[in-house]
């Protein structure tokens, strides 16, 4: 059994690295083979949205020029993942989002992480500044088809402070052990805060424009809120849970009926658009000086 620790933080021996390593130490003690990678050591160029990976079944133009393909294939060699990233301004470090955007490639080359367990560790400094801390880590793991079995926010301030914080380290160790147990037993039940959404366990619920319906913005399941004994209760029909956004069949149908037919749309629209966009080409030079500054 192989467990991979992913660190989405630039900081050497910072809290994220220490916590992920602590989780891996515990996993190793449970008999797992472990390894670690720091995603921020690799360039991940922005997806250019031309969808050639899907429409033309070609490799991404960045393949071999940045680290995305390498990092994705590295994950594929593991049975479980511990993903750590620090929460800065409401969300975790941007490398996670950069990685997500390039996962369009999965539409033509399916994920090899489907059904594998993962857990998330997010160290943060200030209470009240973590509203979307789990958002990107949850999306990336769900999009890969993984089962998130736990998520832990760890309150910590000073650089490397977790090294001397038994409580923080214990939380991380528990995560490591849980992932090993999940791989070994096949029991991928969720161990963290149950949250509001029964699928992703987040608490970020959107109130839709009809002011009646609520939706988990991550999973896209829809339901209603009620107040029972003074407490807010969110209820989602069972059918919704089965068909959440990241269910494999939902993703298949999204790709089949919402993305792929747009190839025909582009082809039909292109002759007219090619001419119409000409007037924007000469209006202001958006790229001037960019190379020199970079």
């Amino acid at each position: 059994m192989k467990i991979l620790g992913i660190v989405g933080s630039c900081r050497k021996l910072g809290n994220t690295e220490i916590l992920v390593k602590e989780a891996l130490m515990a996993a190793q003690e449970e008999g797992a083979e472990v390894d670690i990678v720091r995603w921020t050591n690799y360039d991940i160029f922005p997806c250019e949205g031309d969808a050639v990976c899907m429409f033309l079944d070609k490799d991404c133009k960045h393949k071999g020029k940045d680290g995305h393909d390498f990092l994705l294939n590295m994950m594929y060699e593991f049975d479980g993942v511990v993903l750590g990233a620090p929460c800065y301004i409401l969300e975790v470090e941007a490398v996670i989002k950069q990685f997500i955007d390039r996962l369009f490639i999965l539409s033509s080359r399916p994920s090899k992480m489907i059904g594998k367990p993962a857990a998330i560790i997010v160290p943060y400094a200030t209470r009240g500044w973590t509203s979307y801390a789990f958002l990107q880590p949850t999306i990336v793991l769900h999009f890969l088809g993984m089962h998130v079995i736990d998520k832990q926010l760890i309150h910590i301030q000073a650089m490397s402070e977790t090294a001397g914080d038994p409580l923080a380290r214990e939380k991380a160790r528990r995560i490591g052990k849980e992932v090993v147990y999940a791989v070994r037993s096949g029991d991928h039940s969720y161990k963290g805060d149950p949250g509001i959404c029964p699928v992703c366990h987040e608490r970020n619920i959107r109130i839709m424009s009809d002011n009646q319906t609520v939706e988990c913005g991550i999973c896209a399941i829809r339901g209603r809120l009620s107040i029972v004994d003074g407490k807010i209760r969110a209820e989602f029909p069972q059918e919704q849970l089965k068909w959440h956004r990241f269910a494999l069949e939902s993703l298949y149908r999204h790709s089949t009926y919402e993305i792929k037919p747009s190839k025909d749309y582009f082809i039909r629209k292109w002759p007219a658009l090619k001419e119409q966009r000409g007037r924007y080409k000469e209006f202001l030079d958006i790229d001037r000086g960019a190379k020199e500054v970079r």
């Binding site: 899907m54 009809d210 896209a220 069949e249 149908r253």
Partner: protein
């Protein structure tokens, strides 16, 4: 006066994103009658589509938009008010189509009204 036409394409998405109500001829007839518009329904089933329980498989990569499996509701009217009422009633029942190409085939004037009505409910609800 230009005849306004809205072509609303509902693709076989998952039950969560599909119209919350099944598209029924009787509902379309009622809306047409109440608004004084013409509403037709056509079902397209691609030759490549297979269905096994919840599992749908279809090769849509090189298909024309019109050949992909879908239910197509077409609304036509000369009168803008009637047309608007009909499209709004359809969106309340079935939600708006999700994609830009989900209105492919609409007349320019019809498409403009459809887009405005989509935005009334956040584009999707």
């Amino acid at each position: 006066m230009e005849e306004l036409t809205a072509v609303l394409r509902y693709f076989p998405l998952d039950p969560v994103t599909n119209p919350p109500n099944p598209i029924r001829r009787a509902d379309l007839d009622r809306i047409a009658r109440e608004t004084g518009t013409t509403i037709t329904l056509a079902a397209v089933v691609s030759k490549s589509r297979t269905v096994e329980g919840d599992i749908i498989r279809e090769d849509t990569m090189n298909s024309a938009i019109e050949e992909v499996s879908q239910d197509v509701i077409t609304v036509s009217a000369q009168d803008e008010t009637a047309f608007t009422k009909a499209v709004r009633a359809l969106f309340r029942l079935y939600r708006a189509p999700r994609t830009v190409f989900g209105t492919w085939g609409s007349s320019p004037g019809g498409r403009e009204i459809v887009y405005r009505l989509c935005d009334e409910y956040d584009g999707w609800y």
